[in-house]
Structure formats: C-alpha cells, structure tokens
C-alpha cells in the first residue's frame, strides 16, 4: 500500500470518528429534546454487576402491552399511551393504519411473543446504587424521557421521588 493510501485511510478514520460518534450523540441529544414524560416502573434488580453500575428495571408499560398484544399481529407492535394521574400507561394496541397522540413501538423481534421498548437500565453512581437497593417501586418511582418516532429516550430515573440523574 502506498504512503498516500495509508494517509487517506488514517484521514478516513478521523472523519469516521467525527461523523459516527458525533452523529450518534447528536441523534440521542435530539431525541431527548421533546416534552418530558413519565412512565412508571416496577420490580427491578438494583445492580446488575455484569453491566457495571446499572440499575435494571421493568416498565409497567411492558406488562400492559404484553397483555394487549394480539398473537400473530403486525410487527413491530405499536401501542397507544394515555395519561393517568401524571404517569403514562398503555391504553390499546394499534393496528395497521391506526395512530394516536403518543405511540410507543416495541423493538422485540418479529418471532418474539414479548414486548421490548428498548429501555431497561439506568447508569447510576455507585454511592447512589446502594440506597436504591432498599427502595420498592411505587407511584413516586418512574422513568422520565421523551418519545420521538415511537422510541422512548430516557433522561432520568426517579426513585421514591428522588432523581438519580442529578448529583448526590
């Protein structure tokens, strides 16, 4: 390989770093610009040690969606959300051509019978993780995020009224 070709490859790597990671970060930032919504969570493993300092949780919306998911229905499955007392819950499954104001799309593979909204963990400082371990899910425990194009982009996890995204 000639020196100019090597130089071109290295310059391509520089461009790739900027475009790939810059673009990825830009997309994630933009996805979190919308209205901040709240979805309740239930039952979680406070620390998944294999994933570092991540709090694992399960959205209530996942259980609600799985109860409404028709067998053999269209994929990816889409669900309508409605506000109940300040928290969003799944109200109905959307068929082909149907729409509503707030939609969440499941990212589970077509062959799967389950529902996955792509949100099940939150990175948290180790000092906070210990206190999270002793808290049970309730009306003051929810994720905060923005919904764009059927995808939930998480911004915060509030446990018992206490935000984990803000400093200790």
């Amino acid at each position: 390989m000639s020196p100019s070709a090597r130089r071109a490859l290295l310059l391509a790597l520089v461009a790739a770093d900027l475009l790939v990671f810059g673009g990825w970060i830009g997309v994630e930032q933009f996805a979190r610009k919308g209205a901040q919504l709240r979805l309740p969570v239930e039952g979680y493993d406070p620390r998944d040690l294999l994933s570092g300092h991540y709090v694992r949780f399960r959205l209530v919306a996942v259980r609600e969606a799985e109860a409404l998911l028709p067998p053999g229905g269209p994929r990816p499955a889409r669900f309508c959300l409605e506000d109940r007392g300040g928290l969003l819950h799944v109200s109905r499954h959307l068929g082909d051509g149907e729409d509503c104001k707030l939609v969440l799309t499941s990212t589970a593979p077509a062959a799967s019978r389950g529902v996955d909204f792509g949100v099940d963990r939150f990175y948290v400082d180790e000092r906070k993780a210990a206190s999270v371990a002793s808290v049970a899910a309730g009306p003051q425990t929810y994720v905060v995020g923005a919904i764009a194009a059927g995808r939930l982009a998480i911004v915060d996890l509030v446990v018992n009224g206490r935000s984990l995204a803000r400093g200790p």
Binding site: R7, V20, P168
Partner: protein, 388 residues
C-alpha cells in the same frame, strides 16, 4: 569476557561468542572480522545506569497514569457528560493525528501503537455514549462497530499487531451475535458443537490467510487465529475419541460445512506440494472429522486405541511439518504432546502407577531407539557439505 564493572558476561554475549567461534571455525569469518563485530556490539550495548533510569522512569510514568485514572474514576459522576465525551473524542482524534505524523516520519511502530490505543478508545467511546444516554442493545453491535474501525486501522499497517486486534474484535462480535441469537446454546448442547463450530471458523481463517498475501499483517495473523481455533476442535475431538458417543451427526449442516472447508484446505495444501504439510493436514482432518462422527458401534477399547494411534500419528506429522518449516518450538511442542498422550493412555488403560511406570520406561526406550536410528539414517542419507 567481563564488562566494565567486572560482572560475568551476559547470556547474549556468550551466545554471540559461540556463534563467532563457530563461524570462524567454518571459515566464514576472519579473526579481524570477528573482532570488529565484538567491538561494534560492545559500543552499542546499553549501559546499566541507563537501564535503571529508564526502568524507574517507566514505573513513575505508570504510577502517574494510574493515579490520574483513579482520580477521574472517583469523581466520575461529578464530571459533566459533555466534558467526558469531548475529552475522549479529542483523545481519539489526537491519537490519529499523532499516528499521521509518525507515519510521515517513517516511525511505523509508534504509529501502530497509537492506532492500537485508538482501537481501545473506540470501545471506550461506545461504552461512554451508552452509559451517558442509558442505552441498551445487543452487545455484539458495539463490538462490530469497533471491529470496523479496527479493520480500517489494520489495513494500513504492515505489521500483524493491529490485524490481531481486528480479528479478535470480529471473532468476539461474531461470538456475541451467536449468543444473542441463542445459537451458542444450541451448538454447544450438541457434543459436536465444540468440534464443528471452532473447526469451521478456524478453517475459514486459515483459507483467508492464504489468500491475503498482499497484506503481510493479515497473512501473518489469520493463520495463527485459525490454528488456535482448529486446536480447540482437535482437543474436543480427542475427548470424543476417549469415550463412546452417539454416532449420529447432531449438527448435519455445520458438519457438512466443516467437511467442505476441510476438503478445500486439503486441496490448498496439496497445491503447495509440501509433503509433510499435506500428510499432517490429512491426519488432522481424519482425527477431527472422525472425532465428530465416531460411532458407538466401535468398542471402547478399539475406540481408544484408534484415537491414540491417530493422535500420535497426527502429532508426529505436525512435528515433521514444523521441523520442515524451521520452527524448533513447534516441533518440540508436538513431540511433547505425543509424550503426554502416551501417559494419558497408560493411565486410562492401566490405572496403576507401577505398571504405568514400567510401560513408560519401555516406551521411552523405544522412542530413544527410533530417534537414534533417525539421526544415524539422516547422517547416512544426507550428503556431506562440500569443503571450501
């Protein structure tokens, strides 16, 4: 034979002296030339003081780096996300810019080390973005993205270092993909899984290494990874030869793929016209494929003896191929494996230390006799070098 401060000469200097004497005795060097070589080596030898200074400096530098990492880790949550991401991205770009500079100066090792660091930083950046935005997804995607960067970096390097990293990333992401698709559990639920999966991937790498002669780094790295994976298949096959198993192929499609790849590789070996390699390849194929389909209809004793004979023949052929290729280490390794297999056989069949001991002594005498006979035969067959 003493250096300036009166300590005994280093092992390296002793070896050099032995070589100089041997070359002088063979008439390849005059005494004046040998003296000039000694003087040159003495002049370029590192001084003890410089070694101590550079050692202390390296320890100090390492302590500083670890200290900085510790402080950053302790205050990780307090550091704004934008600063973390910006600093890491700047480090990645900085590594590439420096690599460009050193490449222009012809300092390819430093360039490759910087690109090696960049390969690690790409993984770190993927993890940092996922952590910052609380993302989750199939882990194989992150490693696959890092693999793309690593392959591009390896493409412009003549050395094998970056190629090894790229191959490691690709294989790692492939492994994670199989796990994510729940295929690993299926493959390794079958006893053949440990043979057909690593064997097939290993052969693909060996075949690819033979074709990428235009890229020296990949041509050097791919066969090593391929051989390592095929070794996994060989040891899994050795286990199957040691105990009766079901003869039905539980993974027929994969087994057919393994057989086809084996045939392709044997054809490639045959085209190389190196007899030792062809024989070694054929014996490895017989051992591995036979191990994958070994039948319960073979009695336990017949199975063990057949497996033993095949294993020893295979290692013997590999030792000869390694000797032909000029690798003393590999030759010793394969002959050592034969010795280990003999010990295992005695323990399997006899299960008695006393009898094993006498059997090993007898076997050792046979091996020594064969080695002596081989040595004498080669001395008789090989023509003596013509005197100058």
């Amino acid at each position: 034979m003493h250096d300036l401060i009166g300590c005994p000469a280093s092992v390296g200097r002793v070896k050099l002296e032995k070589k100089l004497e041997a070359w002088r005795a063979a008439g390849l060097l005059t005494e004046a030339q040998a003296a000039a070589i000694r003087a040159h080596e003495q002049a370029h030898q590192g001084h003890a003081g410089r070694w101590v200074a550079s050692g202390l400096g390296a320890v100090g530098g390492l302590a500083i780096v670890i200290g900085i990492i510790s402080i950053i880790s302790a205050n990780w949550s307090e550091i704004p996300a934008a600063l973390k991401i910006g600093a890491l991205l700047a480090t990645m770009i900085g590594a590439l810019v420096l690599a460009l500079r050193f490449a222009a100066q012809g300092r390819t090792l430093v360039r490759d080390l910087l690109l090696l660091g960049h390969d690690g930083l790409v993984l770190a950046m993927i993890g940092l973005v996922a952590q910052t935005f609380h993302l989750h997804g199939a882990p194989w995607r992150g490693l696959a993205l890092a693999a793309v960067f690593a392959v591009v970096a390896a493409a412009q390097s003549e050395g094998a270092l970056l190629s090894h990293v790229a191959i490691g990333y690709v294989l790692g992401s492939f492994w994670m993909f199989l796990d994510h698709a729940d295929l690993l559990r299926r493959y390794f639920a079958s006893e053949q899984g440990f043979i057909v999966l690593p064997g097939s991937v290993g052969l693909v790498l060996l075949l690819a290494g033979g074709r990428l002669r235009g890229h020296a780094g990949a041509a050097a790295a791919l066969p090593k990874w391929g051989a390592a994976l095929v070794s996994v298949a060989v040891f899994a096959a050795a286990w199957r030869w040691s105990e009766p198993h079901s003869g039905r192929a539980a993974l027929p499609t994969l087994f057919a793929l393994l057989a086809a790849l084996t045939a392709l590789y044997l054809v490639e070996l045959a085209l190389s016209r190196r007899r030792a390699r062809i024989v070694a390849g054929a014996l490895v194929a017989a051992f591995v494929l036979g191990g994958a389909i070994v039948s319960r209809s073979l009695g336990e004793g017949t199975l063990r003896v057949t497996g033993f004979v095949l294993f020893c023949a295979m290692c013997g052929a590999l030792a000869m191929a390694a000797a032909e290729a000029g690798s003393r280490r590999l030759t010793n390794l394969f002959t050592l494996l034969i010795a280990a297999r003999i010990l295992v056989l005695y323990l399997e069949l006899v299960r008695n230390l006393m009898t094993t001991g006498f059997g090993l002594i007898l076997t050792g005498l046979v091996f020594c006799a064969v080695a002596y006979g081989w040595w004498r035969l080669r001395a008789v067959v090989a023509p003596a070098p013509e005197p100058r």
